[in-house]
């Protein structure tokens, strides 16, 4: 196993986690009355945008999937547009799933949608960065033993962790503690964020520990 690559992955992931922590702390210096719980929607926007930008930058810098072919500019543009459409569709899909899970249909649409955006950022955006708008590849990666590089393993782990985090985040909602973080969608989005961060940290460690078993075969 290439140790260096694992180290690069670790660095990138730590950077992402740090960015999330910063989104919770830093805007308070620029915006009046900012807090994660109080102005949750703002934080959702900030966090999504930051994670998205950072992911794209990291992807451009690190180039985890070396594609040897040089492609035309037009192709790149169409690819980018496709990515945008995919991202938007995944937001809609997540929104629909959240509503099916019982979120109010008409009220709190902004909250639900921003939560869907956050979830898409944590899952779909990474897929788009790494795999491109290629559904077949997605299905391959998310089936058992489908990962073909440590980046894909990391993608698997972080996505599953974010979704699981959001899933577990719904648990405290029915409790009658009347805490500010029980308000929809705070507990779920916090759950997703913690899940994502946990995934970011777990992924390199897991890959490191299981490096003997992980024998990635290229197609």
């Amino acid at each position: 196993m290439r140790e260096a690559e694992v180290r690069r992955l670790l660095a990138a992931n730590l950077l992402c986690a740090l960015a999330i922590v910063l989104t919770a702390v830093a805007p308070a210096f620029f915006l009046d009355g900012f807090s994660v719980l109080g102005t949750h929607l703002t934080w959702l926007c900030v966090c999504s945008v930051c994670v998205a930008t950072l992911n794209i930058i990291l992807h451009l810098v690190l180039k985890p999937n070396q594609s040897p072919k040089r492609r035309s500019f037009a192709h790149k543009i169409s690819r980018f547009l496709k990515c945008c459409i995919y991202f938007f569709m995944s937001c809609i899909l997540f929104h629909a799933i959240i509503v099916l899970y019982g979120a109010p249909l008409i009220e709190l649409v902004t909250e639900t949608f921003l939560f869907a955006v956050l979830l898409s950022t944590f899952t779909t955006l990474q897929c788009l960065c790494l795999l491109g708008p290629n559904i077949q590849a997605w299905i391959r990666v998310f089936s058992k033993n489908g990962a073909m590089s440590i980046w894909e393993s990391s993608l698997q782990i972080t996505s599953v962790c974010s979704i699981l985090g959001a899933w577990f985040g719904a648990f405290p909602i029915p409790l009658d503690w009347d805490r500010p973080w029980q308000v929809w969608p705070i507990s779920c989005s916090l759950g997703a964020t913690f899940g994502y961060m946990a995934g970011l940290i777990i992924a390199p460690l897991w890959i490191h520990w299981n490096r003997k078993q992980l024998t990635y075969k290229s197609r």
Binding site: L100, G102, Q136, I139, S143, K144, N145, P174, D176
Partner: protein, 988 residues
């Protein structure tokens, strides 16, 4: 003895039901508080003797009555804001005027849960707090044997007249010189119940031959049940009540003589929640108004601030004082002082002393260490200063000082009373710990036995050896029996409190002890066997190589998570959320499974050789793909793959992919049909929109479409006769609903004549019985003649469709979509998910169980007593008949789980060709799924028995769980019977 898993599971569940019954009996003890009233005629206490020799107060008799005639007007479900709020101002002008300016005292009386009529009447009249078990016997109220106000009044020679809810007549038989009971069970009757009370009023008010008049009006409660507190019907009803109260008040005033004033008491037995039901402990249900109106009270000068809060039990003591009667012995209420505020200081002190003496005597009878109780200490101190005060008084001291001193004593008394009654109220929950423990031991042992036998019961043969004789003749068994009997003797001879299990006959007790030790020996031998197998691991490598799919992980996590969530009161209140969450996740996981089956397997087929063969050591999909051409094995996962090629076919594929999403959408729609639970129960939901009177035509349309859909979904597997019967039955359901006024026929516009629809309902019953009978006949035929299995599956389906028809009759019209979606989901799941994906019987059973639970809540149930729809017990019945009413109510309440269980049986028995043990597996899993939560919950409730919410949250849930166990036991017996047929056939 060899047992099949089905038989084993149902016998285990029966034993468990016995344990649950014992536990419930211990948990809800019949409260035995004080000595029976016949022996309770102790003399009333004298005034406390002043210190020093020579001086004795001569006031030993009960003080004379303060009021001549008393009229109690009890308006069922009168919430406090109906009188004191904006509704009261708008619709009850006379009462508002009396409250604000007249000679009256108004309070908000807090009712203790369960806020159901009969316990509340008991509380009002005895002053005690009835146990929770009163809810269960609410429908069948026997005579009240405790010391109570009515009995005291009758013994004192007062003439009592009663009109209203006949619960009173049952509670106090032969107490009233004149009565007319109205039955409270026709919930849809808003006017006649009250007219039946009011029609006597004019005549009675003119007469002089009574002392106490009690009127109990039910109309408001009925309106609440049917349409909720904000319905337009509430206003006119309140206005009607206001007019009645005005009439009574005016008549009382006109008849008043100089000697003694009259008293009018207006109260509610309980309030109503925002949905119009009651039984729980939300603020609207608990707060009721309590008005005392009499010319004896001073005119109010200042406008009234917020009315003071008192306990509902305080009425009994106050009325007893007001009528010059001894306070009932079990009363925990306090005298409401303002009512006697016009009397002299000596009289007031005498009243509170009587009250305090009664409370402290009750405390003495119930607590061994009563002397240390702060309330008792306070009372003793107050009594002493009372004595001093009397000394001063008898000495003729009549100054300002005496009055001030009296006020101080009064304050001391009031504080003592408050402490006394709160420490008495705490004691109401006396648990019969020993019976509970025996119940828990039985339940837990059964659970452990079931868990230990999982691997064998779910094996291919679904049969295992139950080592019955070795444990039964072992030394351990006898030793344990002896020991337990010894424990029983020790506990029963040493216990002071009443214990149900001890009061059973010795033979029964020994039988239970033998059962416990036999179960224990069974567990031990099962463990021994497992250890034996464990030592020889080479023989069965199956267990270790079993690979967990996502479904299995979800099922396990969901079951454990749900069981753990039962420890938190909020999760119990909102249990529907847990189930909705779980079945949503289940659908998503199923969707993923379907995707994998559709896309990946095809891909594997195409590029069979290249990519896949490299993953030799993997166990996932790749191995499945490889195994496509290997003949089917018992492993379901491998079987799944073999079917894939025939499965993936054009449009079918897309429908099957869409199935989980359609089911998800159905569930989302159902969720918004009935808001249930506690926190979000007040949210507007579709069901309320439909039931409101403006949307009758929409409701009619929906009901008609639903009935049509039910017919189409059910008929496809029925025989011709049943099809016709089904159609006629569903027509009957619609005409029944039209007759009761819930829906309208399109040609009928002025549906004024609302009847009980008895003929229509009986018409439907005939078809239900006919269809079920046809089904049973087919089942018997398939058993006796040993015909092909199609007869059997038709028979089962016919039984199922008969039950669906019964449910359609009993469900409220706005709930008919629940039934439609239930059938739709079952059909889609069977066709596109369960059969193609070839799940094993255990997984299918658990999915059925989950959906059944979710449908329990979809139909509007919750874990509170209030949502039980007792009106279903009267469909097609002229009057209250106990057995059918209980059966119908139980069926309507548990229709969701029950229908899913029967569907499971239909499905599994059609699966028999593939897996001969399917029904046995299903039965075992179903029993296990039921016994896990109930066992854990019983332990949790025992631990939490002093929790604040034990009566409002945990106890109703316990009742629901208990009833569910009994129903599941019945279902499992039915399963076993079906399994039996099959096994005979195999042997033939």
């Amino acid at each position: 003895m060899r047992l099949r898993s089905g038989v084993f599971a149902s016998s285990c569940l029966l034993v468990q039901a016995l344990g649950v019954a014992l536990f419930l009996r211990g948990f809800f003890p019949v409260p035995v508080r004080s000595v029976p009233r016949r022996e309770a005629r102790a003399d009333p206490p004298a005034e406390p003797a002043p210190p020093g020799p020579g001086m004795v107060s001569n006031w030993t008799k009960i003080p004379p009555p303060l009021f001549k005639k008393v009229v109690i007007v009890l308006i069922d479900a009168l919430r406090d804001d109906f009188v004191f709020g904006s509704k009261g101002k708008q619709f009850m002008p006379y009462i508002t005027q009396v409250v604000e300016k007249g000679t009256s005292y108004s309070f908000i009386a807090e009712a203790k849960p369960p806020t159901v009529t009969m316990p509340r009447i008991k509380a009002l009249m005895t002053g005690s707090i009835p146990g929770f078990i009163d809810v269960v016997v609410n429908l069948n109220s026997p005579a009240l044997l405790d010391d109570n106000l009515i009995w005291q009044a009758k013994t004192a020679g007062k003439r009592i007249i009663f009109y209203g809810d006949d619960t009173w007549v049952k509670l106090f038989p032969k107490h009233f010189v004149e009565y007319d009971g109205t039955t409270s069970f026709f919930v849809s009757d808003f006017t006649e119940v009250d007219d039946n009370v009011t029609r006597h009023l004019d005549r009675v008010l003119k007469r002089e031959d009574w002392d106490l008049l009690i009127l109990h009006y039910l109309g408001l409660d009925h309106i609440g049940h049917m349409t909720g507190p904000n319905s337009p019907l509430v206003g006119p009803k309140l206005r009607e009540m206001d007019n009645i109260l005005k009439k009574i008040h005016v008549s009382l005033l006109s008849k008043e003589e100089a000697s003694l004033p009259n008293l009018l008491v207006v109260c509610g037995d309980h309030g109503m929640s925002e949905t119009g039901s009651h039984g729980g402990s939300s603020e609207g249900e608990v707060h009721t108004p309590l008005l005392f109106i009499s010319s004896a009270f001073g005119k109010r000068s200042a406008p009234l601030a917020q009315p003071q809060h008192v306990q509902q039990t305080d009425l009994a003591s106050t009325l007893a004082i007001g009528l010059g009667l001894p306070i009932s012995r079990n009363s925990v209420g306090n005298l409401i002082l303002p009512v006697v505020g016009g009397k002299t200081m000596r009289e007031q002190l005498r009243f509170v002393h009587l009250n305090g003496f009664q409370l402290s005597r009750l405390l003495q009878e119930n607590t061994p260490a009563y002397e240390k109780d702060p309330g008792y200490e306070h009372f003793k101190i107050a009594e002493k200063s009372h004595g001093n005060w009397i000394k001063l008084y008898l000495e003729g001291n009549n100054s300002e000082i005496l009055l001030n001193l009296g006020k101080k004593v009064l304050k001391q008394y009031l504080e003592a009373l408050k402490t006394l009654s709160s420490s008495l109220s705490k004691q109401v929950a006396q648990y019969d710990i020993y019976s509970m423990m025996v119940g828990i031991v039985i339940i837990m042992e059964v659970l452990i036995l079931l868990l230990l036998s999982v691997p064998k019961a779910l094996s291919r043969q679904a049969e295992f050896e139950v080592p019955l004789s070795p444990p039964l003749f072992s030394l351990l068994f006898y030793l344990m029996c002896l020991m337990l009997c010894a424990v029983h003797v020790i506990v029963c001879t040493s216990a002071e409190s009443l214990c149900y299990f001890c009061s059973m006959s010795w033979l029964t007790a020994v039988g239970v002890m033998m059962l416990i030790s036999a179960l224990m020996c069974g567990i031990l031998s099962a463990i021994a066997k497992i250890l034996e197998n464990y030592r020889l691991p080479s023989k069965n490598p199956v267990a270790s190589s079993y690979n967990w799919s996502e479904i299995d992980v979800l099922i396990l996590a969901g079951t454990i998570g749900h069981v753990l969530s039962l420890g938190a009161s909020s999760f119990i209140e909102e249990e529907h959320q847990t189930w909705y969450f779980l079945i949503n996740t289940l659908c998503l996981v199923l969707c993923q499974e379907l995707c994998r089956n559709n896309f990946l397997l095809k891909e594997c087929d195409l590029q069979h050789s290249t990519s896949v063969k490299q993953n030799f050591d993997s166990i996932g999909e790749s191995s499945e793909c490889k195994n496509i051409d290997i003949p089917a094995e018992s492993n379901s996962k491998l079987g799944k793959a073999t079917s894939s090629s025939e499965f993936v076919k054009g449009s079918d594929k897309w429908i099957s992919l869409a199935t989980p999403w359609i089911i998800l959408i159905c569930c989302r729609l159902l969720r918004s049909l009935n808001q249930t639970g506690v926190q979000w129960a007040h949210r507007p939901d579709f069901g309320h929109w439909l039931t409101s009177s403006e949307h009758k035509s929409e409701l009619s349309f929906l009901a008609a479409v639903s009935l049509l859909m039910i017919f189409f979904l059910v008929q496809r597997r029925c025989s011709l006769v049943s099809k016709i019967a089904m159609a006629l039955g569903l027509l009957g359901v619609y005409s029944y609903r039209a007759a009761t006024g819930n829906v309208t026929f399109p040609w009928q516009h002025d549906g004024k004549d609302i009847s009980k629809g008895i003929t229509e309902a009986r018409f439907v019953y005939v078809f239900v019985l006919g269809i079920v009978f046809t089904g049973t006949k087919d089942l018997l035929k398939s058993q006796v003649v040993s015909a092909d299995s199609s007869t059997k599956s038709t028979g089962l389906w016919e039984v199922y469709s008969g039950l669906v028809l019964l449910a359609a009759l009993l469900f409220r019209p706005h709930n008919l979509p629940v039934l439609v979606f239930c059938l739709l989901i079952q059909t889609m799941m069977t066709k596109y998910i369960w059969i193609p994906l070839k799940f094993d019987a255990a997984q299918i059973t658990i999915m059925h169980y989950w959906f059944g639970q979710a449908f329990f809540y979809f139909q509007g149930n919750s874990n509170g007593i209030a949502t039980v729809d007792i009106s279903t017990g009267f469909v097609g019945l002229d009057s209250y008949v106990e057995i059918p009413a209980i059966f119908l109510t139980a069926f309507a309440t548990y229709a969701g789980p029950f229908l899913w269980a029967i569907h499971l049986l239909c499905y599994l028995s059609s699966e028999v060709s593939r897996n001969s043990a399917a029904v046995g597996h299903g039965c075992f899993c179903y029993a296990l799924m039921r016994s896990i939560p109930v066992a854990i919950y019983v332990v949790l409730v025992t631990g939490l028995r002093y929790h604040l919410f034990i009566w409002s949250v945990f106890s109703p849930k316990l009742l629901y769980e208990g009833v569910h166990v009994f129903i599941t036991a019945a279902v499992c017996l039915f399963f076993t019977a079906m399994d039996q047929n099959h096994s005979y056939k195999v042997q033939d």
